[in-house]
């Protein structure tokens, strides 16, 4: 582990991805699931920027990272709006309670 090695960044990104996947798999709260998705997107972003810095030498990876950040913002806005709509309908945001399509 050192700041001048690609593998240390990839390791951090792998751990973040695993924690995000754990959150998505086990949580029953819709907002927590969205937090796990944010962690997964961030780990992918770290990989993009790390490869752009150490392997390619140009800034294409950073541009993809900015697109991912933009899509994450759109996803958070729509996802949380859907969570609020589910809460209005079912009065809970437990994903298991909201598995039916009618109220």
């Amino acid at each position: 582990m050192s700041p001048n090695e690609l593998s240390s960044y990839l390791t951090i990104a792998a751990i973040l991805f695993a924690l995000g996947l754990f959150t998505v798999l086990t949580r029953r709260n819709a907002i927590s699931v969205l937090m796990g998705v944010e962690l997964i997107l961030n780990s992918a972003n770290i990989n993009y920027v790390a490869f752009s810095h150490f392997s390619s030498g140009n800034s294409a990876g950073q541009i993809y990272a900015i697109f991912v950040i933009m899509l994450a913002a759109a996803e958070a806005a729509v996802g949380l709006a859907i969570v609020l709509a589910i809460f209005k309908l079912f009065h809970t945001i437990d994903v298991e309670a909201a598995e039916t399509m009618k109220d």
Partner: protein
């Protein structure tokens, strides 16, 4: 161990410990606030990688936008006066085993693969390069991104507005 290595370890620790809090905390408010530590740590990693513009954008959008949005959603969907704001989890043990195996193989692969190396690693200001790239090589994706954001904005308004029945 130089100062920059020590700072790197500190930032990596902050990122991973806060992400662990997000994944394992029993209280969703703690989870939401731990996300702040994760996002700040990731911004620090971007600075170590020489991506100054991405780090600034990351702090602006994630901490200033998405995190505030998540906190609003938490507080709109739970009665804050309740003593226990639970964050129920299910199937933790099988998920932990799967995640453990996955992270083991990921780290094995990371360390075993001979990654391509750039000729030289440079630290320069990236903002001008990124601006040029957005307006020449990536112009179409850039315009599509604005359309996606417009669609997401309209979608969020339509989904979360109050239904008025007459």
């Amino acid at each position: 161990m130089t100062v920059s290595t020590a700072v790197f370890y500190l930032i990596a620790l902050l990122t991973i410990v806060s992400a662990g809090m997000v994944a394992f905390s029993r209280n969703i408010i703690y989870s939401a606030f731990s996300l702040l530590g994760t996002f700040m740590g990731i911004a620090g990693l971007y600075i170590f990688l020489g991506a100054d513009f991405v780090a600034a954008v990351h702090v602006l959008i994630y901490v200033g936008g998405i995190l505030v949005l998540i906190l609003f959603a938490v507080m709109l969907t739970h009665r804050i006066t309740d003593v226990t704001i639970t964050n129920r989890a299910a199937g933790s043990i099988p998920a932990l085993i799967v995640i453990g195996v996955l992270v083991y193989f990921l780290i094995q692969t990371v360390n075993a693969t001979p990654w391509l190396k750039a000729k030289e690693v440079v630290f320069t200001a990236t903002t001008a390069t990124i601006g040029d790239a957005f307006l020449y090589d990536y112009l179409l994706p850039f315009e599509l991104a604005s359309l996606v954001l417009l669609a997401a904005m309209i979608g969020a308004v339509v989904l979360s507005r109050k239904e008025i029945k007459d």
